[in-house]
Amino acid sequence: MAGRIRSLWEFANPARFMRLSGAALPWVSGLAALALVGGLGWGFFGTPDDFRQGSTVKIIYVHVPAATMAINIYVMMAAMSLIWLIRRHHVSALAAKAAAPVGAAMTLIALVTGALWGQPMWGAAWAWDPRLTSFLILMFFYVGYSALWAAIDDPDAAADLTAVLCLVGSVFAVVSRYAVLFWSQGLHQGASLSLDRETNVADVFWRPLVLSLAGFFLLFLALLLLRIRTEIRLRRARAIRLAAGEGA
């Protein structure tokens, strides 16, 4: 266990991170493409209509993975922000920064596909339902977080302030996840994926959904690695320019 924790901390060294991520990125990208094409293709072409929801059940293969990733990416960003504030590892701050646009994209997909699913099923594309509203606020936190990074020139000051903002916003990530449990009202149903067979989606939908979830996760991981590598290179370029007196 101690060895695993130690190897995790080794990613905090940018040079080591660049080496390891460079080797992993092609594999993660390839697996992401396979899982996404497999999961979405299986779900779209290979599953039947639901007896109540008809063909709209196929929206589950994009909506649920996107929504799940939207929440979990923010939780990951909060963890990275905490590591930055406590340990001052630059890669953790850059990981949170790199993840934010991907998380915002996942949240946008969840909101749009949710509206497209809600219109025929609920008769409304939007309602001020606890889960929908908390997701909208989560979207605002993603956008605000990226905007704050862009607004501050000093990288360490930007990392400090965005970390605090991220931790504040993590409340809404938790609320988004558990809104349907906290408030037993609103249009949105409970979790689609559950360990309880009574409430879990039927097996015929569950298998492609899990594959699609894996695809979304692997895509996030590939984009995260790529974007962290970009941020590290931009930091190095900035350092060279500063050392050469060219300005940041």
């Binding site: 994209a105 990288p155 970009t230």
Partner: protein, 71 residues
């Protein structure tokens, strides 16, 4: 193509939205990565490769695995 019935527009629009948004993020990320790499290579070629002092091997955890300095 499966028969999506009366809900075809909603289902197809959902998949299209996901493809467009994810495609945009992927394209933006790749473009930014290529530009950053090109810019760094250009600067390194002009000013020489800036290297940090060699770090000791991280044998015992984060305290002995200092980061490469960043500005």
């Amino acid at each position: 193509m499966p028969d999506l019935g009366a809900y075809a527009a909603y289902v197809l629009a959902s998949y299209a939205a996901a493809v467009v948004v994810l495609g945009a993020v992927i394209a933006w990320s790749i473009r930014a990565a290529l530009r950053a790499r090109t810019e760094l290579e250009r600067l390194e070629a002009r000013h020489g490769r800036r290297r940090a002092a060699p770090a000791p091997a991280p044998e015992t955890g984060p305290e002995t695995a200092p980061e490469e300095p960043m500005p």
